[in-house]
């Protein structure tokens, strides 16, 4: 409830000589590469090789074959199996494996996703949902891509709601087999990478139905089964069928398709039985008693998909910004005050467009590093507690939507900033947008993930209320009531307005203050969650339909609360990353970048801060003016900031970012200079009147 008015004032002299400081690009690049720097550098070296790169416009059949071949090459020679057990040739290195995997997006997002399907989903399901016997029997061929596999979870009728899939696996004790069956068209497996052409096996998710001796049939919920789908010649196995999903908006190097099963029988041992097993007589058993918790535990083992998409999205943003900023520092358009034309990056609007995206990409990168560390802690076993898993899943659900939507915005802004040249496939931006598009709806639709996050925030809030003593709750409630009352009166704002009027610089100083930014961002999430909890409280005493309607009426607010949380998480990660910078000049510039990130968040939600009495109108005005000052300060560092992303020409591969534009500009300027010098330049008509 603290209004920013109460904070002590920081009176720093403004640093306006932004050109006097200079980023240590190499050191910053190292920091951004993080603890897996060496692995990432190796992965980038591979991603920069022509044989792994996307050929824009390659026909779909050739693209699919190319990517399959690339996958096998990676398996054979390029250290992509680190996540698998040492005894099978892996390195039990989960974080390191993902750090490399995320770089594949730079070569070709199709390669990243096909690798993700093969190793991150298909083989990982065998690893995490299966047991030693499955590892021995199925992992080696899945790792080497001798068996390309599909991850058959999603159905045409059910995307994000996996619990409701229609495919069944009914145990037949007479033959000790499971019968995999598709009961209707909506239960066809759909959108599965590898399914259209290459998969010879699939991990199939189905409702496990079994009856113990003398008992009725029970549905034990979704379980995974290893099912061969094609023979070596590529023909369907008996009872299995499917379709090609055909052309997609992008990622056409991945052969997405559909699968359906007509009473397909697989042995009892094909059940990946780590979290649930069926005995010969049909008796079901599980180490996790609650079917709900069991389901989420099984799905939770596959969180690495979301983790890696978060990292890949940040990398795609880096690529797009590197291309657009490099071009904007060479391209000139419209005459300036002198005889020369103005470089695009010098335009105020161009800075407004691109620099905040750079700031957000830094935030995304620092936040991803923390997600990767959390992932490695859990999957290495070092931090594998129920709380650790829960936190990891929440963090992945927080960051994956944020960074994938950011990548879409960034790539589109970059493409528009490059004008017609940005629309040519050779300059990469349109292809990158097309490929990244589906990242926002697969591996958990972003909207659905944000809802999960919001529910977790509400749970935590309820816990904090329960954990608090009676006195704390009273204070909390009183605090909120007082806050609500304050919203009604212009008291706080009145005081701020009057005090701000006196000294504009002082209020800017406060917003630049790290603690002030934190307070504003944190307060907003906490208030939104508390308000939501309050609004949803009546649901506890309502009939289900009424409660659902109440919840639905607040769905938009839930999603906005999750977004606010994500922004705070990214800001905190950025601030922690900033604390690690040792070079003073780099630290200075990066502090501006962090401030730009923080202030753009506050500007984005300025109406909320005003309505809720957290900022006065006078203070709110300074948000935008301080952003303007930051943009002017950061402009000279734009190239350094994207260069620190560490991608070379072999990664950018965009002619407009190759220096060709600079050459053309130089040639044109030399032509006019020579013409003027020769005295042969025709006079402009207006000069002769």
């Amino acid at each position: 409830m603290t209004a920013i008015t109460d904070r002590p004032t920081t009176l720093e002299a403004p640093v306006d000589d932004a050109r006097d400081v200079r980023i240590d690009v190499a050191a910053l690049a190292d920091q951004l590469l993080g603890p897996y720097a060496d692995l990432r550098r190796q992965a980038r070296e591979v991603a920069g090789r022509p044989e792994f790169q996307k050929i824009e416009g390659q026909p779909v059949p050739e693209h699919r074959e190319r990517v399959l071949h690339q996958l096998r090459e990676l398996a054979a020679h390029h250290d992509v199996l680190r996540a698998f057990p040492s005894r099978l040739g892996g390195a039990d290195d989960h974080g390191g494996s993902l750090s490399r995997f995320e770089e594949l997006v730079v070569a070709d997002p199709s390669l990243q996703i096909k690798a993700g399907v093969q190793w991150g989903l298909f083989a990982s399901a065998i690893l995490h949902l299966g047991t030693a016997d499955h590892h021995d029997r199925f992992l080696p061929a899945a790792m080497s891509v001798d068996v390309p596999g599909a991850f058959a979870m999603t159905e045409t009728g059910h995307g994000s709601d996996v619990a409701s899939i229609g495919t069944t696996a009914t145990y037949d004790p007479a033959t000790q087999e499971f019968v995999i069956h598709t009961p209707f068209r909506a239960a066809w497996k759909d959108y599965l990478g590898n399914a259209a052409q290459h998969a010879t096996a699939a991990v199939v998710f189905a409702q496990l139905v079994t009856a113990g001796p003398e008992e009725p049939a029970v549905n034990h919920g979704v379980h995974a089964f290893y099912v061969p789908v094609r023979d070596a010649s590529g023909a369907w196995m008996p009872g299995v069928g499917g379709e090609d999903d055909g052309l997609k908006g992008g990622l056409n190097g991945v052969d997405n398709g559909r699968l359906h099963f007509d009473q397909v029988r697989v042995p009892r041992s094909s059940l990946l039985n780590r979290y649930g097993d069926v005995a010969e007589d049909g008796t079901y058993s599980s180490p996790i008693a609650s079917p709900g918790r069991r389901f989420f535990t099984m799905l939770g083992t596959l969180v690495q998909g979301r983790v890696s998409l978060d990292g890949a999205a940040a990398n795609a943003s880096k690529l797009a910004l590197s291309i657009a900023v490099t071009y904007a520092n060479q391209r000139r358009q419209f005459a300036g005050a002198g005889s020369d034309e103005v470089v695009l990056m010098d335009y105020g609007q161009h800075q407004r467009r691109l620099l905040p995206l750079i700031a957000e990409t830094y935030a995304s990168t620092f936040a991803h590093e923390e997600l990767l560390a959390a992932f490695d802690a859990v999957f290495s076993g070092r931090g594998d507690t129920p709380e650790g898993r829960e936190d990891l899943e929440t963090l992945a659900a927080t960051l994956k939507p944020t960074s994938t939507w950011h990548a879409m915005n960034t790539i589109q802004a970059a493409r528009e900033a490059c004008g017609g040249a940005g629309y040519l496939a050779e300059n990469r931006l349109v292809g990158l947008h097309q490929d990244m598009d589906v990242y926002v709806t697969f591996e958990g639709d972003n909207t659905v993930l944000y809802q999960l996050v919001a529910k977790r925030l509400l749970t935590e809030y309820a816990r904090s209320l329960k954990g608090a003593g009676a006195g704390d709750v009273a204070r909390l409630v009183a605090g909120r009531a007082a806050g609500a009352a304050l919203h009604r009166t212009p008291l706080i704002r009145a005081v701020q307005t009057l005090s701000d009027a006196g000294d504009a610089r002082r209020s800017v100083g406060q917003l630049r203050d790290e603690a002030a930014q934190r307070e504003l961002l944190t307060d907003r999430v906490e208030s939104m969650v508390a308000d939501l909890a309050n609004s949803l409280r009546p649901a506890q005493k309502m009939a289900p339909a009424e409660a659902a309607a109440l919840f639905n009426a607040h769905q938009h607010e839930l999603i906005e609360a999750a977004r606010a949380h994500a922004e705070r998480v990214q800001w905190e990660a950025f601030t922690r990353g900033l604390a690690q910078v040792s070079d003073p000049a780099t630290k200075q510039v990066l502090t501006w970048v962090r401030d730009l990130f923080g202030l753009q968040l506050i500007e984005r939600h300025l109406a909320w801060y005003l309505i809720n009495g957290r900022l006065s109108a006078g203070r709110a005005r300074t948000v935008t003016s301080y952003i303007d000052r930051l943009l002017a300060r950061l402009r000279p560092h734009a190239q350094d900031l994207v260069d620190a992303f560490g991608y070379g020409p072999e990664h950018l591969r965009a002619p407009i970012a190759s220096g060709a534009e600079q050459e053309r500009q130089d040639e044109a300027r030399a032509h006019y200079r020579a013409q003027r010098a020769s005295g042969q330049a025709p006079l402009p008509e207006k000069h002769i009147r």
Copy 2:
């Protein structure tokens, strides 16, 4: 300066029985088709034929040939030449021609753009920049597409800044020829439709250089020349060369390419000489003395490109929303309170995502109709005054960016709302996004156009100050000073806050009030322009470099002012369209749609209204709550609202909007119903514990 507090209160009873009213879909569809309804219906009939439709994923060479063939078919049989002179087989019907042309986007945006290149640019340049002799010699073959033509204006080095192109046309009195020449690589013509393959001629824009007898060479600025570029066999004419632009982000049915000229000679009569001519002896003459005004007059004749993109963008938005809403009304995901799953369109977030886009599409449609009327008035000669032309150009520059960016947002939101199915090419949304992408940067980059609009707004503001008497100015200034003072004090807000607290419904009633919305939207533009004028005033006394820097520092605000203006223009057009509705139920629903449009604009800029004292915090809160109420009211009408766009299955052509999803849902529900009825349904595990 009027704060909304001062308005009289409207106390209408809230209409909550939104299902009791029902849109007259057929009548609304007729209204949306506008005065050119019959022509549009015919054009939609053609656009719905398979032979004119895009084949998603067709290889580029085949796609290019297909579109060229379609173009010739259109010319021969489908009344696409209405804009041309009657004496040459046209109908001198400029508005009617565009209304048909805009529907081509529904068949294939490549067809729309190739048609735009051929008739809207190449042939139109001959028509509007040439004289009778050119019409007779060049128009028939351009109209019939016997001569496919390029519109060679843009250069690699200069996009929106046409005045700075490098290509020269130097008059040689000895041979009475112009020598067309490309002096350096950046002056290659680029991104030209038809240039890569099909064009046999081009209208080439070049700096006209000529010397009268005994006079020095003078550059008379950009003029247009008719230049043959390929012979009948497709080989380059002597001195002409070029390149294929290759694969693009979309629109790959158009063969964009580059052209360059090495001292290419064309006869003197190839100058399209309506606005500037060169006599045999090299003497230049023009009916327009000012080179600047001449340049803008010549470019102004080509405004129809922007007009038609505005209409096509609105149509693309309609298509995307028709697909997404139809699917969202059939698709179910996640269990609701009953046994059934919830239809997507019933989710609060889905309504928040799609319904405001429907409202904006209606606004865009009504505004486009007014633009088309203005265009027809000027080009028919009925309203062809300098002011009429200036207003038309400003309106086109206002609406084209607004509707093309809106189309991009809408198509992307529609694609995400359809999840994985939205990513399949067969469902049209990804292809539509890819094709429409370049609309935001071609025919005048959106950012550049908004700047033109802002400059016009500033000019009008300066005029209004000059036109006002001394007393008026004093009042104006005093009014602004008083306004500025009010911003500083919480007085207005304090009053509002206290009065609002008493009766929330009353304040909602005020925002629903048409006059209140108009006041808020209008006041914002006017204040932004006045503030800008004030900020930029010192530039008049500055050195050019300093003035340019000042202007640049306010570039973002200029663009935001233009955006605010565009929003107001759309809102006014919507409101005028609403006044034409006679059916009471339709009028009621459409009023909610207009209110949703108005309030979403106010919500988007809520911080501005709060900072500038136009809305109190209490009033601002009601904006969002009233939007929520409108969304709930409009939800039952979502399908009617998109059905009124009037596109049939032959236009949508998306399997997910074909009813197939409904069939799948019905089949699945029948399966479970039968299973439950038979008593064979396995028990859920949680039910047996």
